[in-house]
Protein backbone atom coordinates (compact mmCIF):
# COMPACT_ATOMS: atom_id res chain seq x y z
CA UNK A 1 0.00 0.00 0.00
CA UNK A 2 2.83 2.33 0.88
CA UNK A 3 4.74 1.64 -2.31
CA UNK A 4 2.01 2.72 -4.69
CA UNK A 5 1.77 5.91 -2.69
CA UNK A 6 5.45 6.66 -2.87
CA UNK A 7 5.77 10.33 -2.25
CA UNK A 8 2.45 12.06 -1.76
CA UNK A 9 3.61 15.56 -1.03
CA UNK A 10 1.81 18.13 1.04
CA UNK A 11 1.49 21.63 -0.29
CA UNK A 12 0.29 24.77 1.44
CA UNK A 13 -2.93 24.53 -0.54
CA UNK A 14 -5.06 22.61 1.95
CA UNK A 15 -7.98 22.19 -0.45
CA UNK A 16 -5.86 20.40 -3.04
CA UNK A 17 -4.24 18.30 -0.31
CA UNK A 18 -7.66 17.26 0.88
CA UNK A 19 -8.96 16.37 -2.57
CA UNK A 20 -5.78 14.41 -3.26
CA UNK A 21 -6.31 12.51 -0.03
CA UNK A 22 -9.98 11.77 -0.68
CA UNK A 23 -9.28 10.31 -4.12
CA UNK A 24 -8.27 7.07 -2.47
CA UNK A 25 -11.02 4.72 -1.36
CA UNK A 26 -8.92 3.37 1.51
CA UNK A 27 -8.41 6.90 2.86
CA UNK A 28 -12.17 7.56 2.75
CA UNK A 29 -12.79 4.29 4.58
CA UNK A 30 -10.10 5.12 7.12
CA UNK A 31 -11.61 8.55 7.78
CA UNK A 32 -15.14 7.15 8.09
CA UNK A 33 -14.14 4.27 10.36
CA UNK A 34 -11.93 6.57 12.40
CA UNK A 35 -14.78 9.02 12.84
CA UNK A 36 -17.21 6.32 13.98
CA UNK A 37 -14.58 4.99 16.38
CA UNK A 38 -13.81 8.47 17.69
CA UNK A 39 -17.46 9.30 18.44
CA UNK A 40 -18.23 5.95 20.09
CA UNK A 41 -15.00 5.76 22.06
CA UNK A 42 -15.24 9.42 23.01
CA UNK A 43 -18.72 9.14 24.53
CA UNK A 44 -17.96 5.86 26.33
CA UNK A 45 -14.61 7.23 27.45
CA UNK A 46 -16.28 10.32 28.87
CA UNK A 47 -18.39 8.13 31.15
CA UNK A 48 -15.39 5.89 31.85
CA UNK A 49 -13.48 8.88 33.22
CA UNK A 50 -16.45 10.07 35.29
CA UNK A 51 -16.66 6.56 36.76
CA UNK A 52 -12.88 6.39 37.39
CA UNK A 53 -12.66 3.21 35.34
CA UNK A 54 -9.61 4.12 33.23
CA UNK A 55 -7.61 1.08 34.29
CA UNK A 56 -10.58 -1.18 33.57
CA UNK A 57 -10.92 0.37 30.11
CA UNK A 58 -7.26 -0.25 29.40
CA UNK A 59 -7.65 -3.84 30.55
CA UNK A 60 -10.63 -4.36 28.23
CA UNK A 61 -8.55 -3.01 25.35
CA UNK A 62 -5.76 -5.46 26.21
CA UNK A 63 -8.31 -8.31 25.99
CA UNK A 64 -8.03 -7.97 22.22
CA UNK A 65 -4.61 -9.62 22.38
CA UNK A 66 -5.73 -13.03 23.70
CA UNK A 67 -8.84 -12.60 21.56
CA UNK A 68 -6.90 -12.23 18.33
CA UNK A 69 -4.30 -14.87 19.14
CA UNK A 70 -6.85 -17.36 20.51
CA UNK A 71 -8.97 -17.00 17.37
CA UNK A 72 -5.88 -17.52 15.21
CA UNK A 73 -5.01 -20.66 17.18
CA UNK A 74 -8.49 -22.14 16.81
CA UNK A 75 -8.89 -21.02 13.23
CA UNK A 76 -11.97 -19.02 14.20
CA UNK A 77 -12.71 -15.57 12.75
CA UNK A 78 -10.74 -12.89 14.59
CA UNK A 79 -13.90 -10.89 15.36
CA UNK A 80 -15.31 -13.81 17.39
CA UNK A 81 -12.13 -13.87 19.49
CA UNK A 82 -12.25 -10.12 20.12
CA UNK A 83 -15.87 -10.19 21.28
CA UNK A 84 -15.45 -13.36 23.35
CA UNK A 85 -12.47 -12.06 25.30
CA UNK A 86 -13.66 -8.46 25.67
CA UNK A 87 -17.03 -9.73 26.90
CA UNK A 88 -15.45 -12.22 29.29
CA UNK A 89 -13.10 -9.52 30.53
CA UNK A 90 -16.00 -7.17 31.20
CA UNK A 91 -17.77 -9.87 33.22
CA UNK A 92 -14.60 -10.66 35.19
CA UNK A 93 -14.09 -6.97 35.99
CA UNK A 94 -17.77 -6.52 36.75
CA UNK A 95 -17.51 -9.19 39.45
CA UNK A 96 -15.96 -6.56 41.71
CA UNK A 97 -17.81 -3.31 41.32
CA UNK A 98 -18.07 -1.50 44.57
CA UNK A 99 -17.69 2.22 44.73
CA UNK A 100 -16.54 2.18 48.35
CA UNK A 101 -13.29 3.99 49.01
CA UNK A 102 -11.69 1.13 50.95
CA UNK A 103 -12.24 -1.44 48.23
CA UNK A 104 -10.69 0.79 45.58
CA UNK A 105 -7.27 -0.70 46.27
CA UNK A 106 -8.48 -4.26 46.00
CA UNK A 107 -10.42 -3.42 42.86
CA UNK A 108 -7.40 -1.88 41.17
CA UNK A 109 -5.31 -4.93 42.09
CA UNK A 110 -8.01 -7.25 40.73
CA UNK A 111 -8.05 -5.34 37.43
CA UNK A 112 -4.28 -5.75 37.29
CA UNK A 113 -4.61 -9.48 37.86
CA UNK A 114 -7.26 -9.85 35.16
CA UNK A 115 -5.10 -7.94 32.71
CA UNK A 116 -2.01 -9.99 33.53
CA UNK A 117 -3.99 -13.20 33.09
CA UNK A 118 -5.26 -12.01 29.71
CA UNK A 119 -1.72 -11.20 28.59
CA UNK A 120 -0.49 -14.56 29.87
CA UNK A 121 -3.25 -16.37 27.99
CA UNK A 122 -2.46 -14.41 24.84
CA UNK A 123 1.23 -15.28 25.15
CA UNK A 124 0.33 -18.94 25.64
CA UNK A 125 -1.83 -18.88 22.50
CA UNK A 126 0.90 -17.17 20.50
CA UNK A 127 3.53 -19.69 21.53
CA UNK A 128 1.16 -22.59 20.90
CA UNK A 129 0.42 -21.11 17.48
CA UNK A 130 4.06 -21.22 16.48
CA UNK A 131 5.98 -18.84 18.68
CA UNK A 132 5.94 -15.95 16.22
CA UNK A 133 4.15 -12.78 17.20
CA UNK A 134 3.44 -11.93 13.58
CA UNK A 135 2.07 -8.46 13.28
CA UNK A 136 2.91 -6.73 16.54
CA UNK A 137 2.34 -3.27 15.15
CA UNK A 138 -1.00 -4.27 13.64
CA UNK A 139 -2.16 -5.68 16.94
CA UNK A 140 -1.07 -2.62 18.89
CA UNK A 141 -2.02 0.10 16.44
CA UNK A 142 -4.34 -1.61 14.01
CA UNK A 143 -4.48 -1.21 10.30
CA UNK A 144 -6.46 1.96 9.74
CA UNK A 145 -5.38 2.23 6.12
CA UNK A 146 -6.63 -1.23 5.12
CA UNK A 147 -10.30 -1.26 6.12
CA UNK A 148 -12.71 -3.19 3.89
CA UNK A 149 -16.23 -1.91 3.23
CA UNK A 150 -17.73 -4.83 5.16
CA UNK A 151 -15.68 -3.99 8.25
CA UNK A 152 -16.83 -0.40 8.07
CA UNK A 153 -20.50 -1.42 7.95
CA UNK A 154 -20.05 -3.85 10.85
CA UNK A 155 -18.30 -1.18 12.90
CA UNK A 156 -21.00 1.40 12.22
CA UNK A 157 -23.80 -1.04 13.07
CA UNK A 158 -22.20 -2.02 16.36
CA UNK A 159 -21.43 1.59 17.22
CA UNK A 160 -25.07 2.54 16.63
CA UNK A 161 -26.23 -0.34 18.82
CA UNK A 162 -23.80 0.56 21.60
CA UNK A 163 -24.77 4.22 21.58
CA UNK A 164 -28.49 3.37 21.55
CA UNK A 165 -28.05 1.12 24.59
CA UNK A 166 -25.93 3.79 26.27
CA UNK A 167 -28.64 6.36 25.66
CA UNK A 168 -31.21 4.00 27.15
CA UNK A 169 -29.32 3.67 30.46
CA UNK A 170 -27.59 7.05 30.29
CA UNK A 171 -29.53 8.98 32.90
CA UNK A 172 -29.49 6.45 35.77
CA UNK A 173 -25.91 5.51 34.84
CA UNK A 174 -24.73 9.09 35.19
CA UNK A 175 -26.57 9.41 38.50
CA UNK A 176 -24.98 6.17 39.76
CA UNK A 177 -21.56 7.33 38.56
CA UNK A 178 -21.65 10.71 40.26
CA UNK A 179 -23.25 9.76 43.55
CA UNK A 180 -23.55 5.97 43.98
CA UNK A 181 -24.85 6.17 47.54
CA UNK A 182 -27.68 8.57 46.76
CA UNK A 183 -28.51 6.60 43.62
CA UNK A 184 -28.82 3.28 45.41
CA UNK A 185 -30.88 4.95 48.14
CA UNK A 186 -33.28 6.06 45.42
CA UNK A 187 -33.55 2.52 44.12
CA UNK A 188 -31.19 2.83 41.13
CA UNK A 189 -29.58 -0.60 40.52
CA UNK A 190 -26.00 0.68 40.90
CA UNK A 191 -24.20 -2.66 40.65
CA UNK A 192 -26.18 -3.89 37.66
CA UNK A 193 -25.53 -0.57 35.90
CA UNK A 194 -21.80 -0.86 36.62
CA UNK A 195 -21.68 -4.33 35.04
CA UNK A 196 -23.83 -3.19 32.12
CA UNK A 197 -21.52 -0.26 31.47
CA UNK A 198 -18.43 -2.49 31.51
CA UNK A 199 -20.13 -4.90 29.11
CA UNK A 200 -21.02 -2.06 26.73
CA UNK A 201 -17.47 -0.76 26.99
CA UNK A 202 -16.11 -4.25 26.34
CA UNK A 203 -18.23 -4.77 23.22
CA UNK A 204 -17.40 -1.33 21.85
CA UNK A 205 -13.69 -1.78 22.56
CA UNK A 206 -13.79 -5.22 20.96
CA UNK A 207 -15.27 -3.86 17.75
CA UNK A 208 -13.15 -0.71 17.58
CA UNK A 209 -9.85 -2.39 18.42
CA UNK A 210 -10.25 -4.68 15.40
CA UNK A 211 -9.49 -1.67 13.22
CA UNK A 212 -7.58 0.66 15.51
CA UNK A 213 -5.56 -1.87 17.49
CA UNK A 214 -5.21 -2.40 21.21
CA UNK A 215 -3.50 0.85 22.08
CA UNK A 216 -5.14 3.32 19.77
CA UNK A 217 -8.63 2.47 21.01
CA UNK A 218 -7.45 3.38 24.49
CA UNK A 219 -6.03 6.64 23.21
CA UNK A 220 -9.42 7.50 21.68
CA UNK A 221 -11.20 6.50 24.89
CA UNK A 222 -9.12 8.61 27.25
CA UNK A 223 -7.56 11.61 25.58
CA UNK A 224 -10.52 13.49 24.03
CA UNK A 225 -12.72 13.01 27.11
CA UNK A 226 -9.92 13.94 29.52
CA UNK A 227 -9.11 17.06 27.52
CA UNK A 228 -12.77 18.11 27.39
CA UNK A 229 -13.25 17.53 31.12
CA UNK A 230 -10.12 19.55 31.86
CA UNK A 231 -11.54 22.44 29.82
CA UNK A 232 -15.08 22.66 31.15
CA UNK A 233 -17.04 21.25 34.09
CA UNK A 234 -20.37 21.66 32.25
CA UNK A 235 -21.53 18.17 31.24
CA UNK A 236 -23.29 18.85 27.93
CA UNK A 237 -20.54 21.16 26.72
CA UNK A 238 -17.79 18.73 27.68
CA UNK A 239 -19.62 15.83 25.97
CA UNK A 240 -19.87 17.87 22.77
CA UNK A 241 -16.24 18.93 23.10
CA UNK A 242 -15.24 15.26 23.54
CA UNK A 243 -16.80 14.36 20.20
CA UNK A 244 -15.25 17.35 18.44
CA UNK A 245 -11.78 16.68 19.86
CA UNK A 246 -12.04 12.97 19.05
CA UNK A 247 -12.87 13.72 15.41
CA UNK A 248 -10.09 16.28 15.29
CA UNK A 249 -7.59 13.73 16.62
CA UNK A 250 -8.55 11.12 14.02
CA UNK A 251 -8.69 13.51 11.05
CA UNK A 252 -5.44 15.28 11.91
CA UNK A 253 -3.67 12.00 12.68
CA UNK A 254 -4.78 10.35 9.43
CA UNK A 255 -4.15 13.49 7.41
CA UNK A 256 -0.58 13.83 8.64
CA UNK A 257 0.04 10.10 8.28
CA UNK A 258 -1.03 10.22 4.63
CA UNK A 259 1.78 12.61 3.81
CA UNK A 260 4.34 10.80 5.92
CA UNK A 261 6.16 7.50 5.85
CA UNK A 262 5.33 6.71 9.47
CA UNK A 263 2.25 4.74 10.60
CA UNK A 264 -1.04 6.55 11.43
CA UNK A 265 -1.09 5.04 14.95
CA UNK A 266 1.90 7.13 15.92
CA UNK A 267 0.28 10.36 14.68
CA UNK A 268 -3.12 9.68 16.23
CA UNK A 269 -1.46 8.94 19.60
CA UNK A 270 0.74 12.03 19.31
CA UNK A 271 -2.11 14.39 18.34
CA UNK A 272 -4.20 13.03 21.25
CA UNK A 273 -1.37 13.62 23.64
CA UNK A 274 -0.68 17.12 22.30
CA UNK A 275 -4.35 18.10 22.64
CA UNK A 276 -4.46 16.71 26.16
CA UNK A 277 -1.32 18.61 27.20
CA UNK A 278 -2.71 21.82 25.69
CA UNK A 279 -6.04 21.32 27.45
CA UNK A 280 -4.40 20.71 30.82
CA UNK A 281 -2.07 23.66 30.33
CA UNK A 282 -4.86 26.05 29.42
CA UNK A 283 -6.98 24.76 32.31
CA UNK A 284 -4.08 25.45 34.66
CA UNK A 285 -3.40 28.89 33.22
CA UNK A 286 -6.95 30.20 32.83
CA UNK A 287 -8.52 31.58 35.98
CA UNK A 288 -11.10 29.16 37.32
CA UNK A 289 -14.32 29.98 39.10
CA UNK A 290 -14.02 30.10 42.85
CA UNK A 291 -16.42 27.19 43.26
CA UNK A 292 -14.04 24.95 41.35
CA UNK A 293 -11.18 25.51 43.78
CA UNK A 294 -10.29 22.36 45.62
CA UNK A 295 -13.24 20.56 44.14
CA UNK A 296 -12.29 17.00 43.29
CA UNK A 297 -15.38 16.52 41.17
CA UNK A 298 -14.67 17.13 37.51
CA UNK A 299 -18.30 17.64 36.61
CA UNK A 300 -20.67 20.37 37.56
CA UNK A 301 -23.74 18.18 37.95
CA UNK A 302 -26.19 18.13 40.79
CA UNK A 303 -27.35 14.55 41.31
CA UNK A 304 -30.88 15.83 41.87
CA UNK A 305 -31.04 17.03 38.27
CA UNK A 306 -30.71 13.43 37.16
CA UNK A 307 -33.68 12.08 39.03
CA UNK A 308 -36.36 11.89 36.43
Amino acid sequence: MRTELAGPTASWNLASDLSQLLEYHFMVNALLAGSVAAVTAGLLGWLMLVRHETFAGHTLAVMAFPGASGAALLGAPAAAGYYAFCGAGALALGSSTQARQGSFRQRSAWIGSVQALALAAGFLFVSAYGGVLGDLEGLLFGNLLGIADGQLVALAALAALTLALLLAIGRPLLFASIDPDAASARGVPVRALASAFLLLLGIAVGSISQITGVLLVFSLLVAPAASAQALTPRPVLSLALTVVLGLLVVWLGLGIAYFSVYPPGFFVASVSFAIYVLARASAALLPRRASDEGDERTLDVQPDELVA
Binding site: L49, V50, H52, T54, F55, G57, H58, S96, Q101, F104, R105, Q106, S108, A109, W110, I111, G112, S113, V114, Q115, A116, L117, L119, A120, A121, F123, L124, V126, S127, A128, V132, L133, G134, L136, E137, L140, F141, L215, F218, S219, L221, V222, A223, A225, A226, Q229, A230, V261, Y262, F266, V268, A269, S270, S272, F273, Y276, R280, A284, E296, T298
Partner: protein, 277 residues
Protein backbone atom coordinates in the same frame (compact mmCIF):
# COMPACT_ATOMS: atom_id res chain seq x y z
CA UNK B 1 16.06 -29.76 37.12
CA UNK B 2 18.74 -27.78 38.96
CA UNK B 3 21.41 -29.49 36.91
CA UNK B 4 20.53 -27.30 33.93
CA UNK B 5 22.38 -24.03 33.85
CA UNK B 6 19.53 -22.10 32.19
CA UNK B 7 17.26 -23.26 35.00
CA UNK B 8 19.67 -22.03 37.69
CA UNK B 9 19.88 -18.64 35.94
CA UNK B 10 16.10 -18.47 35.64
CA UNK B 11 15.66 -19.31 39.32
CA UNK B 12 18.22 -16.72 40.43
CA UNK B 13 16.74 -13.88 38.35
CA UNK B 14 13.14 -15.01 38.87
CA UNK B 15 13.46 -15.20 42.65
CA UNK B 16 14.97 -11.75 43.01
CA UNK B 17 12.52 -10.11 40.57
CA UNK B 18 9.58 -11.83 42.29
CA UNK B 19 10.75 -10.65 45.70
CA UNK B 20 11.10 -7.08 44.42
CA UNK B 21 7.70 -7.18 42.73
CA UNK B 22 5.99 -8.68 45.76
CA UNK B 23 7.39 -6.14 48.21
CA UNK B 24 6.91 -3.07 46.02
CA UNK B 25 3.56 -4.41 44.82
CA UNK B 26 2.31 -4.40 48.40
CA UNK B 27 2.90 -0.65 48.51
CA UNK B 28 1.53 -0.16 44.99
CA UNK B 29 -1.72 -1.85 46.03
CA UNK B 30 -1.85 0.14 49.26
CA UNK B 31 -1.34 3.40 47.38
CA UNK B 32 -3.77 2.48 44.60
CA UNK B 33 -1.00 2.85 42.01
CA UNK B 34 -1.49 -0.36 40.08
CA UNK B 35 -2.21 1.56 36.88
CA UNK B 36 1.08 3.45 37.27
CA UNK B 37 2.91 0.13 37.66
CA UNK B 38 1.19 -1.13 34.53
CA UNK B 39 2.26 1.99 32.63
CA UNK B 40 5.89 1.47 33.71
CA UNK B 41 5.80 -2.04 32.26
CA UNK B 42 4.45 -0.67 28.99
CA UNK B 43 6.99 2.12 28.51
CA UNK B 44 9.90 -0.30 28.83
CA UNK B 45 9.14 -1.49 25.31
CA UNK B 46 9.48 1.91 23.56
CA UNK B 47 12.52 2.65 25.71
CA UNK B 48 14.30 -0.45 24.46
CA UNK B 49 13.26 0.29 20.87
CA UNK B 50 14.43 3.90 21.09
CA UNK B 51 17.83 2.74 22.33
CA UNK B 52 18.00 0.21 19.50
CA UNK B 53 17.14 2.93 16.97
CA UNK B 54 19.83 5.18 18.44
CA UNK B 55 22.35 2.35 18.49
CA UNK B 56 22.72 2.38 22.29
CA UNK B 57 22.59 -0.65 24.62
CA UNK B 58 18.90 -1.53 24.97
CA UNK B 59 19.18 -1.96 28.73
CA UNK B 60 20.13 1.71 29.08
CA UNK B 61 17.13 2.84 27.03
CA UNK B 62 14.83 0.58 28.98
CA UNK B 63 16.06 1.74 32.37
CA UNK B 64 16.01 5.40 31.35
CA UNK B 65 12.43 5.12 30.07
CA UNK B 66 11.01 3.34 33.11
CA UNK B 67 12.79 5.47 35.72
CA UNK B 68 12.01 8.74 33.91
CA UNK B 69 8.33 7.82 33.54
CA UNK B 70 8.22 6.61 37.15
CA UNK B 71 9.58 9.91 38.44
CA UNK B 72 7.27 11.88 36.13
CA UNK B 73 4.23 9.93 37.32
CA UNK B 74 5.31 10.40 40.93
CA UNK B 75 5.58 14.15 40.45
CA UNK B 76 2.32 14.31 38.52
CA UNK B 77 0.39 12.22 41.03
CA UNK B 78 0.87 14.94 43.60
CA UNK B 79 0.25 17.89 41.32
CA UNK B 80 -2.04 20.34 43.14
CA UNK B 81 -4.95 19.90 40.73
CA UNK B 82 -5.08 16.14 41.22
CA UNK B 83 -4.64 16.03 44.98
CA UNK B 84 -7.41 14.10 46.65
CA UNK B 85 -8.51 14.22 50.23
CA UNK B 86 -6.61 11.48 51.98
CA UNK B 87 -6.34 8.96 49.20
CA UNK B 88 -3.32 8.97 46.92
CA UNK B 89 -4.38 10.91 43.91
CA UNK B 90 -4.12 8.17 41.33
CA UNK B 91 -7.41 7.17 42.90
CA UNK B 92 -8.83 10.21 41.14
CA UNK B 93 -9.81 10.24 37.51
CA UNK B 94 -7.49 13.10 36.61
CA UNK B 95 -4.38 11.12 37.56
CA UNK B 96 -5.48 8.01 35.69
CA UNK B 97 -6.38 9.99 32.57
CA UNK B 98 -2.95 11.60 32.57
CA UNK B 99 -1.23 8.23 32.98
CA UNK B 100 -3.32 6.68 30.21
CA UNK B 101 -2.77 9.48 27.73
CA UNK B 102 0.95 9.69 28.48
CA UNK B 103 1.73 6.01 28.13
CA UNK B 104 -0.30 5.66 24.95
CA UNK B 105 1.82 8.45 23.54
CA UNK B 106 5.04 6.75 24.66
CA UNK B 107 3.86 3.50 23.06
CA UNK B 108 3.10 5.50 19.92
CA UNK B 109 6.73 6.60 19.98
CA UNK B 110 7.61 2.90 20.25
CA UNK B 111 5.78 2.21 17.00
CA UNK B 112 7.57 5.16 15.45
CA UNK B 113 10.93 3.64 16.41
CA UNK B 114 9.74 0.22 15.27
CA UNK B 115 8.94 1.74 11.86
CA UNK B 116 12.40 3.33 11.75
CA UNK B 117 14.08 0.08 12.71
CA UNK B 118 11.80 -1.89 10.42
CA UNK B 119 13.49 -0.50 7.32
CA UNK B 120 16.69 -2.32 8.28
CA UNK B 121 15.56 -5.45 10.12
CA UNK B 122 11.84 -6.13 10.28
CA UNK B 123 12.09 -9.66 11.67
CA UNK B 124 14.76 -8.76 14.21
CA UNK B 125 12.86 -5.84 15.69
CA UNK B 126 9.59 -7.78 15.84
CA UNK B 127 11.32 -10.57 17.69
CA UNK B 128 12.96 -8.11 20.06
CA UNK B 129 9.58 -6.50 20.64
CA UNK B 130 8.06 -9.85 21.54
CA UNK B 131 10.96 -10.57 23.87
CA UNK B 132 10.65 -7.21 25.58
CA UNK B 133 6.93 -7.61 26.07
CA UNK B 134 6.95 -11.19 27.22
CA UNK B 135 10.49 -11.90 28.32
CA UNK B 136 12.36 -15.13 27.99
CA UNK B 137 13.44 -16.14 31.44
CA UNK B 138 14.78 -19.49 30.20
CA UNK B 139 17.05 -17.68 27.77
CA UNK B 140 18.99 -15.65 30.33
CA UNK B 141 22.77 -15.89 30.39
CA UNK B 142 24.65 -16.14 33.68
CA UNK B 143 25.81 -12.52 33.50
CA UNK B 144 22.36 -11.18 32.66
CA UNK B 145 20.79 -13.21 35.45
CA UNK B 146 23.27 -11.89 38.02
CA UNK B 147 22.80 -8.30 36.86
CA UNK B 148 19.01 -8.60 37.02
CA UNK B 149 19.18 -10.23 40.44
CA UNK B 150 21.50 -7.53 41.78
CA UNK B 151 19.31 -4.69 40.44
CA UNK B 152 16.14 -6.26 41.81
CA UNK B 153 17.67 -6.96 45.23
CA UNK B 154 19.10 -3.45 45.42
CA UNK B 155 15.73 -1.90 44.61
CA UNK B 156 14.00 -4.17 47.16
CA UNK B 157 16.42 -3.10 49.89
CA UNK B 158 15.85 0.56 49.03
CA UNK B 159 12.06 0.11 49.17
CA UNK B 160 12.45 -1.61 52.55
CA UNK B 161 14.72 1.20 53.72
CA UNK B 162 11.96 3.78 53.12
CA UNK B 163 9.19 1.32 54.13
CA UNK B 164 8.27 2.93 57.45
CA UNK B 165 7.89 6.57 56.30
CA UNK B 166 6.36 5.39 53.01
CA UNK B 167 3.76 3.42 54.92
CA UNK B 168 2.96 6.47 57.05
CA UNK B 169 2.77 8.71 53.98
CA UNK B 170 0.55 6.22 52.14
CA UNK B 171 -1.94 5.62 54.94
CA UNK B 172 -2.24 9.16 56.29
CA UNK B 173 -0.54 11.64 53.96
CA UNK B 174 -1.74 14.76 55.75
CA UNK B 175 -0.73 13.61 59.21
CA UNK B 176 2.61 12.44 57.84
CA UNK B 177 3.21 15.79 56.16
CA UNK B 178 2.34 17.59 59.40
CA UNK B 179 4.90 15.46 61.23
CA UNK B 180 7.59 16.49 58.76
CA UNK B 181 7.58 13.38 56.55
CA UNK B 182 8.37 14.40 52.99
CA UNK B 183 5.31 12.81 51.41
CA UNK B 184 5.90 14.09 47.93
CA UNK B 185 9.57 13.11 47.78
CA UNK B 186 8.67 9.64 49.03
CA UNK B 187 6.02 9.24 46.35
CA UNK B 188 8.46 10.18 43.62
CA UNK B 189 11.20 7.96 45.10
CA UNK B 190 8.82 5.00 45.28
CA UNK B 191 7.75 5.25 41.64
CA UNK B 192 11.39 5.78 40.61
CA UNK B 193 12.32 2.54 42.40
CA UNK B 194 9.34 0.84 40.80
CA UNK B 195 10.82 2.02 37.49
CA UNK B 196 14.13 0.28 38.31
CA UNK B 197 12.25 -2.90 39.21
CA UNK B 198 10.17 -2.65 36.03
CA UNK B 199 13.34 -2.34 33.95
CA UNK B 200 14.90 -5.37 35.64
CA UNK B 201 11.73 -7.40 35.39
CA UNK B 202 11.14 -6.48 31.75
CA UNK B 203 14.67 -7.42 30.84
CA UNK B 204 14.40 -10.81 32.51
CA UNK B 205 10.81 -11.87 32.46
CA UNK B 206 8.87 -9.40 30.33
CA UNK B 207 6.43 -6.60 30.97
CA UNK B 208 3.70 -9.20 31.24
CA UNK B 209 5.15 -10.76 34.34
CA UNK B 210 5.72 -7.41 36.00
CA UNK B 211 2.06 -6.48 36.21
CA UNK B 212 0.95 -9.93 37.37
CA UNK B 213 3.62 -10.17 40.05
CA UNK B 214 2.93 -6.61 41.24
CA UNK B 215 -0.82 -7.09 41.53
CA UNK B 216 -1.70 -10.67 42.39
CA UNK B 217 0.60 -11.73 45.29
CA UNK B 218 0.40 -8.30 46.92
CA UNK B 219 -3.40 -8.18 46.73
CA UNK B 220 -3.58 -11.69 48.21
CA UNK B 221 -1.27 -10.60 51.03
CA UNK B 222 -3.45 -7.55 51.71
CA UNK B 223 -6.42 -9.87 52.12
CA UNK B 224 -4.62 -12.44 54.25
CA UNK B 225 -2.52 -10.28 56.58
CA UNK B 226 -3.74 -7.16 58.35
CA UNK B 227 -0.41 -6.13 59.91
CA UNK B 228 1.75 -4.15 57.47
CA UNK B 229 5.12 -5.82 57.86
CA UNK B 230 3.60 -9.30 57.94
CA UNK B 231 1.78 -8.34 54.74
CA UNK B 232 4.98 -7.15 53.04
CA UNK B 233 6.80 -10.37 53.97
CA UNK B 234 3.85 -12.48 52.83
CA UNK B 235 3.61 -10.61 49.50
CA UNK B 236 7.29 -11.28 48.81
CA UNK B 237 7.00 -14.92 49.85
CA UNK B 238 3.88 -15.53 47.74
CA UNK B 239 5.48 -13.94 44.68
CA UNK B 240 8.60 -16.09 45.07
CA UNK B 241 6.52 -19.23 45.63
CA UNK B 242 4.43 -18.57 42.49
CA UNK B 243 7.61 -18.00 40.51
CA UNK B 244 9.25 -21.23 41.68
CA UNK B 245 6.12 -23.28 41.08
CA UNK B 246 5.60 -21.64 37.65
CA UNK B 247 9.20 -22.27 36.60
CA UNK B 248 8.98 -25.91 37.70
CA UNK B 249 5.69 -26.32 35.84
CA UNK B 250 7.09 -24.76 32.67
CA UNK B 251 10.17 -26.99 32.98
CA UNK B 252 7.95 -30.06 33.21
CA UNK B 253 5.68 -29.01 30.32
CA UNK B 254 7.94 -27.67 27.54
CA UNK B 255 5.09 -26.16 25.49
CA UNK B 256 4.01 -23.95 28.42
CA UNK B 257 5.79 -20.56 28.47
CA UNK B 258 7.20 -19.84 31.97
CA UNK B 259 5.71 -16.34 32.20
CA UNK B 260 2.22 -17.66 31.42
CA UNK B 261 2.61 -20.38 34.07
CA UNK B 262 3.78 -17.94 36.76
CA UNK B 263 0.99 -15.46 36.06
CA UNK B 264 -1.68 -18.16 35.93
CA UNK B 265 -0.62 -19.43 39.37
CA UNK B 266 -0.42 -15.94 40.88
CA UNK B 267 -3.84 -14.92 39.56
CA UNK B 268 -5.35 -18.24 40.67
CA UNK B 269 -4.04 -17.48 44.17
CA UNK B 270 -5.53 -13.98 44.03
CA UNK B 271 -8.90 -15.33 42.87
CA UNK B 272 -8.81 -17.91 45.68
CA UNK B 273 -8.16 -15.31 48.37
CA UNK B 274 -10.93 -13.11 46.94
CA UNK B 275 -13.30 -16.04 47.13
CA UNK B 276 -12.24 -17.00 50.66
CA UNK B 277 -12.47 -13.53 52.17
Amino acid sequence: MLGQEFMRNALLAGTCVALACGVSGWFAVLRGQMFAGDALGHVAFPGALAAAAAGVDQRIGLLTATVAVGIALGALAYAPRARGAGAPSSASGAGDAAIGTAFTFVLGLGVFFLARLGASSQAGSGLQGARTLFGSIFGLGAGEARLTAAAALGATLLVLAIARPLLFASVAPEVAAARGVRVRVLGVAFLGLLGVIAAGATQAVGALLLLGLLAAPAASAHRLAARPFAGIALAGALAVACTWAGLALAFAIPSLPPSSAIIALAVALHALTRWLR
